[in-house]
């Protein structure tokens, strides 16, 4: 039927855009089409960026673009602007509008706008199985005729209807046969229509506008800024006239209707949809209260909402630590054995750089971080559960009142919650926030939510310094300090830098969704893999460098000679028994190790910085580890492992925790955690803040402010603590 001159295989790939409301199953369809394994979350706006994939269908190749979810072509948030611009200016060869068939009325609004735009649309009635369950049946043929676009029923997660969808896309791309003309168009009533026609006719004179003059006229009437800019570039000569005319017209119509013209037009569109639905949709079964609604009666209850939320948070962290502990101990023991096994490859007592690199640098550094893999996996599992089940939106609801009091709204809470996993994606998740003020206020305080990279630091230090009954509460205290500071920070930003009201908070409440075990495990694994990769790349690389810096340069020949002299002196002494001699030699070796470490690059840097950090109770070893933590927070743990194993030449395997307990007081331990929690975020966070806020200014401001805050707070806590004698030994 399509015997066109160019063979299909020679043509460039057609661009197909996937558009639709949030939660309409767009990402599922995208994955089913392109075969890409991606994350399908459940809160509105999960697809933040433009994603592409290719699909081959017969001879045709389509480039499928997954657009962020949007309710209409009038954009509010950053991601909606992305979607709208792509649909309007990107001129895709076909647009697949994914409609949640179980909720046709609201979902068809975008379809109607696309119809008015004159875009080549294929309507996919997705989740048609859910619709059937709800007792809705939709006459696709009639709907297709009404809207003038092919309509295909699909079930995204089962991959049903995809072939028909692609067939329809191919047809619309080839323009053969031509898509049917819509049987009806939105009738805006006799007050508006004549003016609209007049304006459209005026625009249609321009060839560039001719295709969608009516749509342009409508948008001008609504007062859409983007459209005004478009007109300005399309017909620069008489755009002034056109604008004057539309302004006059808008004022006139608003006088007639007594409300904004945009609202009137929207009402008319919904009226059109209601009419279409009345003809096309039939309710075959009695609508019953859905399971989601029943659950929400409890979860969103005025009195139970917050306690349930708190309980879930508690469960998350409880699971992370209690369940993780035995696994963690196992891995720790495993690395200990590995270290011993590697060390055994060299003759005992001999000095070897390679051995030191492998045992102290790599196993001590990377192994020290990898020990916490089970905790991190469990935390990710819990976050994946909260995300996939749809609870995130409920959390936004429950927290809205509190967030409102500090000048943000519930939606900001979702990035903050993701921040417990990793700050970087959390900062990207702020794209769903509508105003720049809200976004900046949220992302500036985001690093205060303890990310999973800080978990190893807490997990190392808390058991080292606190008795078991205090370990749980201590962890809570650290997390709570972060949250409290974030709250105070937002409030402060709201009354100083970002004054003004926050954007209205309207968000769809997606139905609950029982996460599949496989899905949860996949998400958990993907994110844990991220952590493993980080351990194998960034942490490994930096650990090796830090090891080298703590080994070189060697102390000068005089120092070495002095130790040699002392050693022969001890060996020469006749009055010592074998036992005592060994002890004296060990002590000497320990001293030598310390001296070498102090002479090394890291020792010099550490001692250079130490005076500044001494009032906080940090010695030079902690100071160097804090410097290393700038690359990634886990490096603090790795570096502590390195300095404490390089410094000690003795073979007895004492765990890092025991060494820490020997060298520091609980107060110092707490101060280290406090400093790590608040101080300058990691490099990756800084760059993301820079990119997302559009200037280095904010990233530097954030780093500076957080570090200053960390310094003052830790200083206060350490000095007060030392004065009062808390946690000192």
């Amino acid at each position: 039927m399509s015997a066109v001159a160019t063979p299909p295989s020679k043509r460039a790939a057609r661009v197909v855009a996937l558009a639709g409301n949030p939660n309409s199953g767009k990402t599922t369809i995208f994955n089913a089409l392109t075969g890409a394994r991606q994350h399908v979350g459940n809160y509105p706006g999960v697809t933040v960026e433009k994603k592409e994939g290719t699909v081959k269908f017969g001879d045709d190749v389509f480039t499928v673009v997954d657009l962020p979810g949007t309710y209409s072509l009038t954009a509010f948030s950053l991601e909606e602007i992305v979607a709208g611009n792509f649909l309007i200016d990107g001129k895709p060869d076909a647009v697949v509008d994914i409609v949640d068939a179980s909720n046709p009325e609201r979902n068809l609004y975008l379809a109607v706008q696309l119809m008015e735009l004159g875009a080549p649309v294929v309507l996919a009635l997705n989740m048609s199985d859910m619709a059937r369950e709800k007792g809705l049946s939709i006459d696709t043929k009639k709907l297709s005729a009404l809207l003038g676009m092919p309509v295909v029923a699909t079930v995204g997660h089962k991959g049903r209807g995809l072939e028909e969808l692609l067939k329809a896309v191919r047809t619309i791309c080839r323009d053969d046969p031509l898509p049917p003309k819509p049987a009806r168009r939105v009738d805006y009533g006799r007050e508006i229509e004549p003016h609209l026609d007049q304006l459209a006719a005026r625009l249609a004179v321009r060839p560039a506008c001719a295709g969608h003059a009516r749509w342009l006229a409508l948008k001008l009437l609504e007062g859409d800024g983007d459209t005004a800019n478009r007109i300005r570039s399309l017909c620069p000569e008489d755009c002034g006239d056109i604008f004057r005319e539309t302004d006059k017209l808008r004022k006139h119509l608003e006088g007639v209707f007594g409300e904004e013209i945009g609202a009137v037009l929207t009402d008319r569109r919904y009226g059109f949809i209601a009419g279409a639905c009345a003809e096309v949709v039939s309710q075959t079964a009695e609508a019953r209260i859905s399971q989601s609604e029943r659950v929400d009666r409890i979860v969103l209850n005025r009195w139970l909402g917050l306690p349930i939320f708190a309980l879930l948070m508690f469960a998350t962290f409880f699971l992370t630590f209690t369940l993780g502990q035995p696994l963690m101990d196992g891995i720790e023991a495993g690395f200990g054995k590995l270290g011993e096994a590697v060390a055994a490859l060299w003759p005992a007592g001999g000095e070897s750089r390679l051995k030191s690199l492998l045992v102290d640098g790599i196993i001590g550094g990377v192994g020290g971080v990898l020990v916490f893999l089970p905790n991190i996996m469990l935390l990710f599992l819990a976050i994946a559960f909260l995300e996939d089940s749809g609870y995130m939106a409920r959390a936004a609801f429950v927290m809205d009142r509190l967030m409102h009091r500090i000048g943000l709204h519930g939606k900001s809470f979702i990035p903050l919650l993701i921040g417990f996993g990793c700050t970087v994606p959390a900062i990207m998740a702020t794209r769903t926030l509508e105003t720049r003020r809200d976004r900046l206020a949220t992302l500036l305080v985001l690093p205060l939510m303890s990310c999973s990279a800080r978990l190893p630091i807490y997990a190392l230090l808390i058991p080292a310094f606190f008795p078991p009954e205090w370990q749980g509460p201590m962890l809570w205290i650290v997390y709570a300090i972060g949250i409290a500071l974030a709250v105070a920070g937002v409030k402060l930003l709201r009354i100083t830098l970002f004054k003004g009201e926050s954007a209205p908070f309207v968000m769809e409440l997606p139905p609950y969704h029982l996460p599949t075990l496989r899905g949860l495990l996949v998400h958990m694994w993907e994110r844990s893999w991220m952590f493993l990769r980080k351990a194998g790349t960034v942490i490994l690389g930096i650990s090796i460098l830090l090891w080298a810096m703590s080994v070189w340069p060697k102390p000068g020949p005089e120092t070495m000679a002095k130790f040699e002299r002392d050693r022969s002196a001890i060996e020469a002494r006749k009055d010592l028994s074998g036992e005592d001699r060994r002890a004296a030699l060990e002590k000497l070796e320990h001293e030598q190790g310390e001296a070498e470490l102090e002479q090394s690059l890291i020792g010099r840097i550490g001692r250079g910085v130490a005076p500044a950090l001494a009032p906080l109770g940090f010695d030079w070893k902690i100071s160097t580890s804090l410097l290393g933590a700038l690359a990634a927070k886990e490096i603090f743990v790795a570096q502590m492992g390195i300095v404490y194993s390089v410094g000690q030449a003795d073979e007895e395997s004492q765990s890092l925790r025991e060494k820490l307990r020997e060298n520091y007081s609980p107060l110092q331990g707490f101060c280290v955690m406090l400093f790590c929690l608040i101080s300058m975020p990691c490099m990756a966070t800084l760059t993301v803040v820079w990119r997302e806020s559009g200037s280095w200014k904010w990233a530097l401001f954030q780093a500076g402010a957080l570090t200053a805050l960390a310094y003052t707070l830790t200083l206060a806590v350490f000095q007060a603590g030392s004065f009062l004698g808390w946690g000192t030994r």
């Binding site: 509010f76 609201r106 004022k251 904004e260 609202a263 009402d267 309207v506 769809e508």
Partner: protein, 116 residues
């Protein structure tokens, strides 16, 4: 556009934006769980458009699903449920149209009267 029209526009927009809501119209904050309401007025053009895009245009009927008093609310409209943040429940004005037999609060009769 003549002078009268202009005056009328000004008067109307003023009525929408600043003055007290017409009789029978109350802030959404007054609605209780289970009540069915009709959207009567929204302060702020941006919010109005936003709500309209999500299916909550002026005159549309919705049911309050959760949230009372000062907190945010969940409403159901056109088959989907929306969270309205607590910044908004004083900017959205409604007419009460009916109430569940389950919800205990007595109906404000004058509001009901002016709505129909």
């Amino acid at each position: 556009m003549n002078f009268q029209d202009k005056a009328k526009t000004k008067e109307l927009s003023a009525a929408c934006v600043r003055s007290a809501p017409p009789p029978g119209v109350v802030p959404l904050a007054m609605a209780a769980v289970g009540e069915t309401c009709e959207l009567a007025m929204v302060r702020g053009a941006n919010l109005r458009q936003r709500l309209a895009d999500m299916g909550l245009g002026l005159g549309s009927r919705f049911r309050v699903e959760a949230g009372e008093g000062k907190g945010p609310m969940v409403i159901s409209v056109r088959g989907s449920r929306l969270i309205l943040g607590c910044g908004m429940i004083h900017k959205i004005f409604i007419r009460l149209t009916s109430r569940d037999s389950k919800s205990g609060r007595p109906a404000a009769s004058q509001q009901k009267g002016s709505a129909s």
